[in-house]
């Protein structure tokens, strides 16, 4: 997605999924909202949890845990919506918890380690070494693009 000059700093909106700490470009985030009632879409790809009414606009909510092949969130916990603007339109990413907006220095940047596996490896563009934990930067465009998967499901159906 991007190559970052080592000197510049970036602002990332952060959130967690289980014990993983993610960030997305703050400019791509339209808003962060509490859990919303969703309308399930039968026959949709599994990662699509449903549709939410965002002030009259219908927004597709993508379950980021399912997208990254992580186990589902405990039934008694409700995910938060990180609403992002993408080439596919406005989409809500369902995450466990919202973190702060962090300003990260280019010097802490590393390409995504090869040891990451599965969908996480595909969707994480780079890693920032923060003190004590790693911040995985998510490629929003690829995350919301379900082309391969939708086609796959369509065929199976």
């Amino acid at each position: 997605m991007m190559t970052i000059p080592a000197s510049t700093s970036r602002q990332l909106a952060t959130f967690t999924l289980g014990d993983m700490y993610f960030g997305v470009e703050v400019l791509q985030v339209q808003e962060v909202i509490r859990y919303q009632e969703m309308t399930a879409v039968p026959r949709a790809p599994a990662v699509v949890r449903g549709l939410i009414n965002l002030r009259g606009q219908i927004v597709t909510a993508i379950d980021l845990r399912r997208r990254l092949s992580l186990p589902a969130l405990d039934a008694d916990r409700r995910p938060m919506n990180v609403v992002v603007r993408t080439g596919e339109g406005v989409i809500s990413l369902l995450v466990d918890e919202i973190g702060d907006v962090l300003e990260v220095e280019g010097s802490c940047f590393e390409p995504a380690p090869d040891t990451l596996v599965g969908p996480t490896r595909e969707l994480v563009t780079c890693v920032f070494k923060l003190s004590g934990r790693l911040l995985l930067v998510l490629d929003v465009e690829r995350t919301v693009s379900l082309d391969d998967e939708a086609a796959l499901l369509d065929r199976v159906a």
Partner: protein, 734 residues
């Protein structure tokens, strides 16, 4: 004023604006006669008016502006210097032009008034280059000049009042008339209208929400207020919708030219007539029907209307007639394109369809003339006997049909051999807000567009238990003697049904001319809903056409009736047109609800079957034409490289001795053709079957009894999947 051509209206509005500006500019110019920019601007304006009125055929106006232009051009080039008489002359010119424009606006034609005096004055000014005259004019005191000029211009002013009288009540009427166009119309960005439309949509939703809430209230003042809100919102909605409306004439206006050019190319004589040009349509719909209509018009001229000699021989007038008609009917727009040409010969259409493998001979024999004519809507159908540069390029009526259906419209055709063809298109007024029936299944609400809705049937108690008949795996309800295939919504959506066995709610729907009953848990209200598109992530889900926000703020999905019918197999996907024809027969109670199967033999499987509608063609390929590409056998077929897949190998029977020539079933999978090599084609059978699963057998999805014999059913989708690898490889190698 209402019957003026759009072009003229636009010309008038624009010219009025320009004339007002000219008044100002001329006065400014008088103060500084050498202001080149100003002069150039005045010249351009008059020049534009002259050009446009010449184009529109207003010869008087053209003559008047022409002299004015001459004068201005000399002023601009510095040959003359503007003085008071010239300014007055030019102002008179502007008045004169304004008078003519007003007359055009009110009567639709130029006034009969004589402008020779005005023209003479301008010419005189133009010729008045004698320095003496100019010097004299410059030297006499101002008052004298005014008097002299007034005297000179007296005859010139005369026409203007006469003009006003002709139009009614003098200057007041003229002012009033101007208000009609210039002051009451303005250009608005379409984006702004779209935004307004969205906001009104939201308002309508909020109103619905409040109305629902009101039902629980008893405060009369509050109820009264909501009723007013209700009315105002409805009217506002209607008003905003109107702003997006455009007359269909906007699309039609280019047809005379298209028809003329095409007729000349084809050596034909064609006259085009239009009725209902001012029928209004939503802008988005206008955009959507532009291309399909053009295609139909071209088709009519190219294929429909005969050359003059032929027409004379048949006792018709040598000039063919193409009639475009548009009118409102039942909340829909009807557009008819009729020609008085050769008509469509149903027998020829049938022959062609059989030749192209679109239908079977047996099927054709059962078809009525109307059904046969409708075959032209099938993909890959074109009867043009010679390929011309206008049609016969494989883009046919099927594209027209698909495009019209995409916007919720329908297409039908009526034709009489030797008398002509009429194509009837019905389209909705608007796409943004549609009436819909709300139903629920599995605790969720879904909206069904009312365009698709025919009727509602509710079966209770005993009726519900015994009214539904089963023909093997398919369920039917006998609706007034006709078998109505039933589709259970909860099954199509993979949900749990909530309704008990004592109650069956059937929504009778129409998809692609075919009727079917959609069984839902509950039928709720009808509502006006605002259609919102689904995100791209959901574009693969074909059972939904969009979503809407309900009164309570909840999102409800809008069902795509055609998509559901296709998924349930009520309407076949590939040959939807044939399905429609078959359904016509079914509606008359002639045909059994059955599927047609192609039976064939493969090593290891004595009898196999696949649905005939998936089959493109049956072919034989001699060994000689088979080539290899990336370890895959391929043949060159209709301009593409088609992989040949040995079914025996795919089903794990090992490669048998290849017969020569190969028997190949050609079908389209994943957007490209695949050739399936089988041992022998056996037969075609039309039967309703019950499938027995055969366990996990790759490539086979069950077996059934066809023609009293057990037959394995080919699992075409999984086959396509299995083939995707080699096919893709072959494609890449190509």
């Amino acid at each position: 004023m209402g019957n003026l051509d759009d072009l003229v209206t636009e010309f008038l509005v624009e010219s009025y604006e320009n004339l007002d500006r000219l008044d100002r500019l001329l006065v400014e110019l008088e103060k500084d006669p050498r202001d080149q920019a100003n002069l150039a601007s005045i010249f351009r304006t008059i020049h534009t008016i002259k050009g446009t009125c010449g184009f529109l055929g207003y010869s008087r106006l053209e003559a008047v502006t022409h002299v004015g232009e001459n004068l201005l051009s000399r002023l601009r080039d510095g040959e003359l210097v503007l003085d008071a008489p010239m300014t007055s002359g030019l102002l008179h010119l502007i008045d004169g032009v304004r008078g003519i424009l007003q007359a055009i606006e009110q009567t639709g034609a130029e006034p009969d008034t004589d402008f020779t005096a005005l023209i003479a004055e301008l010419e005189h000014l133009n010729a008045g280059t004698s320095p003496a005259a100019t010097a004299e004019a410059a030297s006499v005191p101002e008052a004298t000049v005014v008097a002299a000029v007034t005297a000179a211009i007296e005859p010139v002013i005369a026409p203007a009042p006469a003009d006003d009288r002709a139009s009614g009540e003098g200057p007041a009427a003229a002012d009033h008339g101007r208000q009609g166009l210039a002051d009451t119309s303005l250009r608005v960005d379409v984006g702004l209208l779209d935004k307004l439309m969205n906001l009104v949509g939201e308002l309508v939703l909020a109103r619905n929400q409040i109305l629902q809430f009101t039902a629980t209230q008893s405060d009369t003042a509050f109820v009264g207020a909501t009723q007013r809100l209700n009315l105002v919102a409805s009217e506002l909605q209607e008003g905003v919708m109107k702003t997006r409306m455009q007359p269909i004439g906007n699309v039609w206006s280019k047809f005379p030219r298209v028809v003329r050019d095409l007729a000349t190319t084809c050596g034909k004589q064609v006259r085009i007539e239009m009725v209902g040009k001012d029928t209004d349509l939503d802008k988005t719909i206008i955009e959507a029907i532009k291309d399909p209509l053009t295609h139909v018009v071209r088709n009519s001229v190219d294929h429909g209307i005969e050359p003059a000699a032929e027409r004379l021989a048949r006792g018709k007038s040598p000039e063919g007639r193409l009639l475009l008609r548009a009118f409102h009917e039942g909340g829909q727009i009807n557009i008819e394109i009729a020609d008085d040409g050769a008509g469509i010969d149903p027998e020829r259409v049938k022959r062609k369809a059989i030749e192209r493998g679109l239908i079977t001979a047996e099927h054709a024999a059962r078809m009525g003339d109307h059904e046969a004519t409708r075959l032209i809507f099938l993909p890959g159908f074109s009867t043009a006997e010679k390929v011309t540069n206008v049609s016969g390029r494989g883009v046919g009526m099927d594209v027209v049909k698909t495009n019209i259906e995409k916007i919720g419209g329908t297409v039908d055709i009526a034709s009489r051999v030797g008398e002509g063809t009429t194509l009837k298109v019905k389209i909705p007024l608007t796409l943004a807000i549609i009436p819909a029936l709300m139903v629920s299944t599995g605790r969720e609400s879904y909206a069904i567009p009312q365009v698709n809705l025919l009727e509602l049937v509710r079966l209770e108690g005993e009726q519900a238990r015994s009214g539904i008949e089963r023909v093997q795996s398919a369920l039917f309800y006998r609706l007034r003697g006709n078998l109505l295939p039933l589709v259970y919504l909860h099954r199509e959506l993979a949900l749990e049904a909530q309704a008990g066995p004592d109650l069956v709610n059937i929504v009778v729907l129409k998809a692609d001319d075919r009727q079917f009953g959609l069984v839902v848990d509950q039928i709720n209200d009808t509502e006006e809903i605002v259609v919102k598109p689904l995100g791209k992530a959901l574009k693969g889900v074909r059972v939904f056409a969009g979503a809407t926000i309900m009164g309570d703020g909840h999102v409800a999905l809008i069902l795509d009736v055609l998509g559901i019918a296709q998924q349930a197999g009520v309407v076949s996907e590939v040959r939807a047109g044939v399905g429609a024809c078959a359904s016509g027969a079914a509606a008359r109670g002639e045909a059994e609800p059955a599927e047609t199967w192609l039976l064939f033999r493969v090593d290891g499987h004595e009898r196999m079957a696949m649905p005939l509608h998936l089959v493109d063609r049956l072919e034989e390929f001699p060994q000689g034409v088979i080539e290899r590409s990336a370890r895959q056998e391929v043949v060159q077929y209709r301009g593409e490289i088609m992989p040949l897949v040995s079914l025996a190998e795919m089903l794990g029977a090992g490669a048998g001795a290849a017969a020569d020539p190969r028997q190949v079933i050609v079908f389209a999978g994943e957007g490209r053709r695949i050739g399936l090599v089988v041992d022998r084609i056996l037969d075609i059978a039309t039967e309703a079957i019950a499938v027995t699963p055969t366990g996990r057998h790759p490539g086979i999805h069950g077996s059934a009894v066809i023609q009293q014999r057990v037959t394995d059913l080919l699992d075409v989708p999984s086959l396509v999947r299995l083939t995707a690898g080699p096919a893709a490889a072959a494609g890449a190698a190509a």
